[in-house]
């Protein structure tokens, strides 16, 4: 489903430079200027790439931390549930529609 993140943003806007358009017609003598402009853009993009890779590393690290925390909590919850099930105080049984209900259990010895 499309959401706000999938909409084209400011960085998608085509600039005169990226469209390779000039307000003045190209002439031989402007090659030096063009080289300078391209160098400037290259520097800017390299810096941005470096910043992004640093950010990517930080995101990856945080995601790993979050995943390990989730696994730990799920294991704890499963253990607590298992103890609850073996305990005769009560248990949950799911109806077909998925409604959970707590049952009081009475032991019947024969």
């Amino acid at each position: 489903m499309r959401d706000v993140n999938s909409l084209p943003g400011l960085h998608k806007v085509r600039t005169m430079f990226s469209a390779n358009k000039r307000s003045r017609p190209r002439v031989e003598s402007s090659a030096y200027l063009e080289l300078y402009m391209l160098n400037k853009e290259k520097e800017r993009l390299l810096k941005e790439d470096e910043r992004l890779s640093r950010r990517k590393d930080a995101i990856k690290k945080r995601l790993e931390e979050i995943n390990s925390e989730i696994n730990k909590l799920q294991e704890t919850e499963a253990a607590v549930k298992a103890v609850g099930d073996t305990n005769s105080s009560g248990a949950t049984f799911t109806q077909k529609e998925g409604v959970k209900k707590k049952w009081k259990k009475m032991s019947l010895n024969y």
């Binding site: 049984f93 109806q95 707590k102 259990k105 032991s107 019947l108 010895n109 024969y110």
Partner: protein, 314 residues
């Protein structure tokens, strides 16, 4: 407004529960019929272990158990559920001081009974002595067992007038066809929907094991008691055949008194006569009682003399 009962049973065997080859065989057969999707009906005279075996199978199935004991007073609503009181709600709104707003609401309170709960959540139903309920009360079971669907009364409310029976739902029935008091014949349609397993008295090995386990008596004494009871049963001279309960009663009393049958100075004979005469007659006529007592005395003498000669031979 639908409420429902919230307590279910969890059957588990006592430490002295005996599982002999005979018990294992019946349990295995019962479970195989249930796995095939058919309800099982244990039919037999008193003391043949119908209810215990039903509970044992239910515990093996491993689902929560709902138990119903058949009763003449039962109607469909006792099984399905019914309207039990009202729920009254009154809201007095004084949020704006010069405005009084009162809202009253009263709804009937419907409570689902055991059968509905078992069908809804796929529990195991043990319907003990179901022939004690009037046949028309059990009509609701016909569609449950065949079409796996339950008709719900309109008065229940809720969104659906029908309830689809959970696939895990299992039913185990017990009945005593020889009971004379307060029982009805089961409907042919209902009987046809279940697999009836006719139970007889336990075999010798099982009776000895049960007597020994329940009373903590020695094997020799348990065997002697079982032999006396079985011989009396096989004599065919009793109004009602004595059951394993008679063996347990004698064995437990003997254990409590802490005496040995051979050295009891007649106390053991008296005890057996009291228990077995009471167990084998309904009205307690003197003639019957005397006859049973005489047979019991002879059987005890035979057993004691047999034991004595065995001891001498050893």
């Amino acid at each position: 407004m639908i409420d429902e009962m919230t307590t279910v049973l969890e059957p588990s065997p006592l430490p002295d529960f005996v599982e002999t080859r005979y018990v294992k065989d019946i349990t295995k057969r019962g479970i195989s019929y249930i796995k095939a999707g058919f309800p099982v009906h244990f039919r037999g005279v008193s003391g043949t272990g119908k209810t215990t075996l039903a509970m044992h199978i239910a515990s093996k199935i491993g689902r929560p158990v709902v138990m119903i004991h058949g009763d003449e007073e039962f109607t469909t609503s006792d099984l399905v559920g019914g309207e039990y009181g009202y729920r009254f709600r009154k809201v007095v709104d004084r949020f704006v001081s010069r405005v009084l707003k009162v809202e009253e609401d009263m709804v009937k309170r419907w409570v689902d009974n055991r059968l509905t709960v078992a069908c809804k959540y796929g529990f195991t139903l043990i319907y003990d002595e179901f022939t004690r309920s009037r046949p028309e009360a059990n009509n609701i079971l016909l569609s449950i067992l065949q079409e796996k669907m339950m008709d719900l009364p309109v008065g229940r409310g809720g969104e659906e007038p029908y309830l689809r029976v959970d696939p895990d739902f299992t039913a185990i029935f017990t009945s005593n066809p020889e009971e004379y008091a307060g029982v009805y014949r089961s409907q042919d349609a209902l009987r046809d929907r279940m697999i009836a397993m006719d139970l007889d008295h336990f075999d010798y090995e099982t009776e000895v094991a049960i007597t020994k386990a329940k009373s903590k008596l020695s094997k020799q004494h348990a065997e002697m008691i079982v032999k006396i009871v079985r011989d009396l049963r096989e004599s065919g001279k009793c109004e009602f055949a004595p059951t394993i309960r008679g063996c347990i009663m004698i064995a437990k009393t003997l254990k409590v008194q802490g005496i040995s049958p051979a050295k009891s100075n007649g106390a053991f004979t008296q005890m057996c006569q009291d228990i077995l005469a009471s167990e084998t007659s309904r009205v307690g006529s003197k003639t019957n009682q005397n006859r049973v007592k005489e047979i019991v005395r002879e059987l005890i003498e035979k057993e004691l003399s047999g034991q004595k000669s065995t001891a001498e031979a050893v």
